[in-house]
Symmetry: C2
Subunit: 353 residues, 2 copies
């Protein structure tokens, strides 16, 4: 079988899933439900009986899974196990298999993949899905209903493998995706997840450190509950997540700290030459208008774009930066994508765009 | 009629409510539903027809309301109108009427009340209730179901007036309260509401200022949504709230900024001499255990306390700092309170207590 994202008949697609946790289990279930031949391995066989009942073929070793010749192998194991898994599969993974993963940080996974000599076969993936539960028993094909994926790349990423992944996400899984380079992905993930986790933790710490903590708890309402919800999740897992993306998190945390110090300066000295407080509170108005358009159920804006093989990386990143979510891929020599996004008229354009 | 919190027969209680917005309307409805003679005034008479249908007696002027001789007059007008209202009622408010309010910041209201020469009649109140809506049409007696109030005081607050307010909240409204001085109230309100609003705004601003903003929005999930929800509310109202409590907010915002900079330092230089990152993520463990006890539905701990007239302020603040919420007040010469709180064994005691 020759991997060819352009001509691959998706009705003959086969996939492998290493790691049947919440995300891996949901991915495997969704492929199996779509009629795709789905092989899976887990580091213990507890989920195998339930997985087999879902039509998932379970294999005994990750080496066996890697050697099976599936078109795409998704690594859905924890990041800390990645180097070990990659070392075990590298000697047996056939060149026609495209390697992917589902992790929330991409640069470090790519570095591990490159160290194992597999980066020419690799396309990173990150589905936006999750729940507060974990394990195969909590997984479901429905967890990915309406999911947006980030499909990531770097300068070495193979065009045809990327196209195979793109068509698989849209045509087989029925999901949407954005295409971004690994570095942009990790900066954005730090912005909307990793940094906020640190901030939420800092708020909870400030409460615990206050002589008024129980008075504060008594007075607390929705705003406090929302701002500290993620601080209540397992702090060790949060720490591990932050440590996987340290430079991006550090830079953003410094930005937030500086904004806070600016506000403190003007509150302490309203006549001073610090920032304009009204401007501080108005700065996010474009985001407020964007969220209002979304809340009001404004019809999605739709469009198509012809992506060319010599400029596909740049075109996909620019599409993502315009807020477009790719719904369909029609592969010819180039490929046409269809997208949708929340409408973005000139007065709701973000300042930076 | 002599105001006497010790001996007042609550079945003859009468109250006045100035301002029939969301909170004022709900307070008035709840008193009327409890069979209390309830007078009200609003700066326009739009809500009067609906209010009268609820058994609320509407009067034409705030001066008329103030002169009516009610036992307690609640000012439920916006803070910006407070000085004007106080100037109008000061000449006509009888000495037997106890003046209160429902604002979320207490020190500034007290200063305005003192400037109007009414501080000897004043007991501050702040019910923990609200919704995303506003106006009398959104108000309801049920909005205060299970509500906790902060009843505040300073060194001048009259013991018997405070007792009348306490008995009214528990026996008439069926709510609970904590007793704290105005300064402690405002510090705690800054901690769990005003400061988090600034932090949430800073996060939304950081998004808008990022070249990756739309990529971030595409990748965003529950943590981002929760952390920026309050930033989506009216920024002018948030700014006004923060500017009513500037010193407390500034101090707390600086504390959070310092915590964030400490984290950035250790992420940028893990071998450096910055903070212990594991300790940072574990610091709020007492709060996590407290919330878990609450989530798990641990039975509330109950107790009683005899509050003495010579030390009532100190005793009530200490009770609030222990996490006790006062459910009943039995007035004798001193008064006995009953309280309940989420259980707090030694291993869930907050560090600072």
């Amino acid at each position: 079988m020759i991997v060819d994202g352009l001509h691959k008949d998706l009705s003959t697609l086969s996939v492998g899933v290493a790691g049947l946790g919440l995300i891996g289990g949901s991915v495997a279930r969704r492929f199996a439900r779509a009629g795709v031949r789905t092989l899976a391995w887990n580091h213990h066989d507890t989920p195998y009986e339930a997985a087999r009942a879902e039509g998932i073929h379970c294999v005994e070793t990750v080496e066996g899974l890697a050697a099976s010749g599936v078109d795409i192998l998704f690594l859905c194991t924890p990041l800390r196990a990645m180097d070990d898994i990659l070392g075990r599969i590298a000697p047996v993974l056939p060149p026609q298999t495209t390697l992917s993963d589902v992790g929330s940080v991409k640069t470090r996974v790519h570095d591990s993949v490159a160290a194992a000599g597999l980066d020419r076969q690799y396309v990173g993936a990150h589905p936006m899905a999750g729940s507060e539960f974990s394990g195969f028993s909590a997984s479901s094909a429905q967890l990915l209903d309406g999911a947006l994926w980030a499909l990531t790349f770097d300068d070495q990423t193979d065009y045809l493998r990327y196209l195979l992944m793109a068509r698989t996400i849209t045509d087989v899984l029925g999901n949407t995706f954005i295409g971004v380079d690994n570095a942009t992905h990790d900066a954005a993930a730090a912005l909307i997840s990793h940094m906020p986790h640190v901030v939420s933790t800092a708020l909870a710490n400030t409460l615990c450190d206050s002589p008024d903590c129980k008075v504060g708890v008594a007075l607390s309402a929705g705003s406090w509950r929302d701002m500290t919800r993620v601080a209540l999740t397992d702090p060790a897992r949060t720490q591990a997540m932050v440590e996987e993306n340290p430079a991006n998190v550090a830079a953003l945390v410094r930005q937030v700290a500086q904004r806070l110090l600016d506000v403190a300066d003007v509150l302490d000295d309203p006549e001073g030459r610090a920032i304009d407080l009204t401007a501080f509170f108005a700065e996010a108005d474009p985001y407020r208008r964007y969220k209002k358009a979304q809340r009001d159920g404004e019809p999605m804006e739709n469009g198509t774009l012809t992506v060319q093989s010599r400029s596909w990386r740049h075109q996909l990143v620019e599409s993502a930066r315009r807020g477009e979510r790719i719904t369909h891929v029609r592969a010819i020599r180039e490929f046409d994508i269809s997208w949708q996004r929340v409408p973005d008229t000139s007065d709701v354009t973000y300042r930076a765009l």
